[in-house]
């Protein structure tokens, strides 16, 4: 793999007694799509702000595109902050072009690029509208375009999906894929796991300022055991004894009518190497009639809840 676009070494940031970011280490390879996951208040935004040198870490080093400060290479970085906002009175194309010129593009090139992006991502008809006449979601799309118009090598998007409808979420996913295909590195933070699952090659999961996971998506899946979901009227006591089954929990069936018929839903956690066929065969042989048999990988959502778990719930409602 080529030299990393971004490295963080033991980066820590405190606000008084509160440690926002605690000893984070990170290395992001070029051209990857990297997800920053974590509950609200985990330190994602603080980390991103430190990467951009808007605030300085108390200790540790950050290296961006081979430089100590992002300000030195700010023309090569694109940034969408968590709290979105644009000049209300400006026209859509003008604001994209303005931010691109601030990043070193010439006026004419910036203007040209603005119209090109607006056309490609379905906002052509709004090019001459003022920002205040747009909906919040459209404004957010404009801001994403404004952050990438100067073709940055590194794109950092803080919560880019929040507030977008499903159609526009897909447009944004496509945009991120386009950037990645173009060799641009994308870092985005989110707490919607489906996006991370679909887009990211690697994930960083932080909670309370500490890194709890850093790796590929499949590594993340491996963190919690696989599951088998069964629905049956029969007795599954014998299944518990099977080799490879770690634990069994009863779940409320999703279908209410099934419950009325006496069908119960069970969730079996199984070892990584466990053979699902063996469980199915066991049921068949012991006359346990199944109305449902699902063998699924744990979703990233489950991984997230598993890793962040109780702590996050406590902190969210602090």
């Amino acid at each position: 793999m080529s030299t990393p676009v971004l490295t963080l070494e033991n980066v820590t940031k405190r606000y008084g007694d509160f440690t926002a970011v605690d000893q984070i280490n990170l290395s992001i390879p070029q051209g990857s799509v990297y997800g920053f996951l974590g509950p609200n208040g985990a330190g994602k935004t603080t980390t991103i702000r430190m990467i951009l040198d808007i605030i300085r870490p108390d200790t540790g080093h950050i290296d961006v595109l081979g430089h100590r400060s992002a300000m030195d290479v700010r023309h090569r970085i694109g940034y969408l902050p968590e709290e979105k906002g644009l000049y209300k009175k400006m026209k859509v194309w003008a604001i994209i072009s303005y931010f691109a010129t601030l990043k070193g593009m010439s006026r004419s090139a910036a203007r040209h690029k603005a119209f090109e992006l607006l056309e490609r991502y379905g906002l052509k008809d709004f090019a001459e509208s003022s920002i205040e006449s747009l909906s919040k979601g459209m404004g957010q799309k404009v801001q994403v375009l404004a952050s990438i118009a100067h073709e940055p090598e590194l794109v950092i998007l803080d919560e880019p999906f929040s507030g977008l409808d499903p159609v526009n979420q897909e447009v944004l996913e496509q945009l991120i894929k386009d950037l990645s295909a173009n060799g641009q590195t994308v870092i985005f933070s989110t707490h919607i796991m489906q996006h991370a699952e679909r887009l990211c090659q690697r994930l960083l999961l932080i909670t309370q300022g500490r890194k709890v996971f850093d790796g590929t998506v499949s590594e993340a899946h491996a963190i919690i055991p696989r599951r088998v979901v069964l629905e049956t009227r029969g007795d599954i006591h014998s299944v518990r004894q099977l080799d490879g089954v770690l634990s069994v929990q009863e779940q409320a069936p999703e279908d209410g009518s099934a419950r009325a018929n006496g069908i119960r839903q069970w969730e079996l956690y199984v070892k990584e190497q466990a053979d699902s066929q063996q469980i199915l065969q066991h049921c068949f042989e012991n006359g346990v009639s199944l109305s449902r048999f699902d063998f699924t990988q744990a979703s990233l959502h489950d991984v997230f809840v598993h890793l962040v778990g109780k702590e996050a719930r406590e902190h969210n409602f602090r």
Binding site: R56, R74, I77, Y79, K84, Y87
Partner: protein, 530 residues
């Protein structure tokens, strides 16, 4: 630098596009025009006043009638002066004809000196006709005929059923509803309101005050003495003061006569004058006479102080609201990922400074356009005055103090803006600054009167006041030590303020939540880096 200019350009363009900017640009000339237009109309638009004279003494009624006639003649004189100025022959740059003006000056002066004989002269010499004849050689050929103003005070007869010989108390009680506007009197077939009742009691001669009767005056029991002037409107004093002056004149002439003094001699003595030439020590003998333009030049700095003040108030408004917009919209974060706080601050200062200068230029342009389109006597005088201004050394002073003042206050307001999330929060913080800014405006006319006095000199050395005060004093040749010294202090302070507000700006701009307390601001200034 390129980025700074980009930011400045955007700030400028966005401000210029706002409604507020155009309201500011257009409102000032419109208000100026209206004030000008209305005040010149109002002078002639005062309604006709009806008064009633009841003279029970049979002695002073004539004096009152004279007073009212004299007040009318004064109006005629003033109108005539205006007419003369508007219609005199254009002498092609040569000074305007002095002779009639001097004679008119004499006449006006006589009026001012309570000299009834001047009016007698004016009337016996043909009054207005004489003045017109005197002025005719100097009038343009196409000059319109002079229309004298209508009488503003018209005598009205008492109601038929009023017994004018009744005691004053009774008459006043009877007339009270008329004076209060509840009832109206008949005059030439129309009902008119009564403006004033002038009642001369029968025994009024006994109320004449002489130096030896002062003691008696002290013991007065509160009942009105002398001539009684009853009017609901107490703000229009022209009639009452004219009557008072005329009465005193009559009394004094009687006294002269009683003591055997030749009245004609007294009149002549009262019209004797020794001219006073007002001279400027800063000029060569021969040109030292203080002209109207010179007088204006002394007062002109006040206009510049106003201009600085108004423009500054407008600019800081933009600075505050734009900074707070960026903060509350969180645009600031994108900006700070693209530019340094220093570049952002300088861009804002330049862009909004350019907006302010544009406004001033627009005002000046519209002012000139106004003068071109609306030519009257008054505007002709203003054009002369402007010529003086433009050729004077006040303009460079103005440019310098305007820029320094802007940089100084803009720095402070930017720092405040960076600490606040809403305009509401900012307003409580800028209140003290507004108070400070009002001081130079309040003291402006005192400083203009005594430009090198203690107050002016002390205020000049306080940097927040320096631009205003020194501008105010600019025409009065302040001591060199003041000019150079305060300039150094001002420039150094401005640099220091910009540097300090740069530090606050850098840290305040990313802050959220309540504006910081003083202690926190102090910490921001001391901290090396975020």
């Amino acid at each position: 630098m390129r980025v700074t200019l980009l930011i400045a350009w955007r700030e400028f363009m966005e401000n210029v596009k706002t409604k507020g900017f155009w309201i500011g640009v257009l409102l000032v000339p419109i208000v100026f025009f209206l004030i000008f237009h209305i005040s010149s109309r109002l002078a002639t638009a005062t309604p006709t006043r009806y008064f009633m004279l009841i003279d029970q003494s049979g002695e002073y009624g004539g004096a009152v009638a004279t007073a009212i006639s004299r007040e009318h003649q004064r109006q005629v004189m003033q109108e005539f002066m205006r007419y003369l100025q508007a219609n005199r022959v254009d002498m092609g740059g040569a000074p305007p004809p002095q002779a009639p003006a001097n004679q008119l000056d004499q006449l006006m002066d006589d009026f001012g000196n309570d000299e009834v004989s001047a009016l007698d002269d004016w009337l016996s010499n043909g009054g207005l006709d004489m003045a017109l004849q005197m002025a005719r050689p100097y009038l343009r050929e196409d000059a319109p005929p002079f229309t004298p103003p209508r009488r503003q005070f018209i005598a009205i007869d008492p109601p038929a059923d009023l017994d004018t010989s009744a005691p004053p108390q009774t008459i006043v009680e009877y007339m009270r509803p008329y004076l209060n506007g509840e009832r109206r009197l008949q005059h030439d077939g129309t009902a008119v309101p009564l403006f004033a009742l002038i009642l001369v009691p029968a025994n009024v001669a006994g109320d004449v005050v002489r130096p030896d009767s002062l003691e008696r005056l002290m013991l007065s029991d509160g009942t009105p003495t002398g001539v009684q002037y009853w009017a609901a409107n107490l703000t229009d004093t022209r009639l009452s003061s004219a009557i008072q002056g005329s009465l005193n004149n009559t009394i004094r002439q009687q006294e002269f006569a009683a003591q055997g003094i030749d009245i004609q001699a007294v009149r002549d003595i009262q019209r004797t004058r020794l001219p006073l030439s007002r001279l400027d020590p800063g000029k060569q003998l021969g040109e030292a006479e203080v002209s109207m333009a010179d007088t204006f030049r002394q007062w002109a700095p006040m206009g510049f102080v106003y201009l600085i003040f108004i423009s500054l108030m407008q600019s800081v408004q933009y600075l505050l609201s734009n900074t707070i917009e960026e903060k509350s919209n969180r645009i600031i974060e994108v900006l700070l990922a693209s530019v340094t706080p220093g570049e952002l601050m300088m861009g804002k200062l330049l862009g909004i400074g350019a907006t302010g200068i544009t406004t001033i230029l627009a005002w000046i342009t519209s002012f000139f356009v106004f003068l071109q389109l609306y030519q009257t006597v008054e505007t002709a005088a203003i054009v002369q005055i402007l010529d003086v201004l433009l050729s004077s050394d006040l303009i460079p002073y103005f440019v310098f103090y305007y820029l320094c003042c802007y940089a100084l206050y803009a720095g402070i307001f930017l720092a405040i803006g960076s600490l606040c999330n809403t305009l509401k929060e900012a307003q409580s913080l800028i209140m003290p600054l507004i108070m400070i800014l009002i001081v130079p405006v309040l003291t402006m006319s005192f400083i203009a009167q005594d430009p090198n006095g203690t107050m002016a000199r002390v205020m000049s050395w306080i940097p927040l006041f320096t631009p205003f005060t020194m501008m105010n004093r600019a025409a009065a040749q302040p001591p060199m030590v003041d000019v150079v010294g305060t300039t150094i202090v001002l420039v150094l302070t401005t640099i220091a303020v910009l540097w300090l507000s740069g530090r606050i700006f850098r840290q305040g701009i990313l802050r959220t939540g309540q504006p910081p307390r003083i202690v926190e601001v102090w910490r921001m200034l001391r901290r090396r880096r975020v």
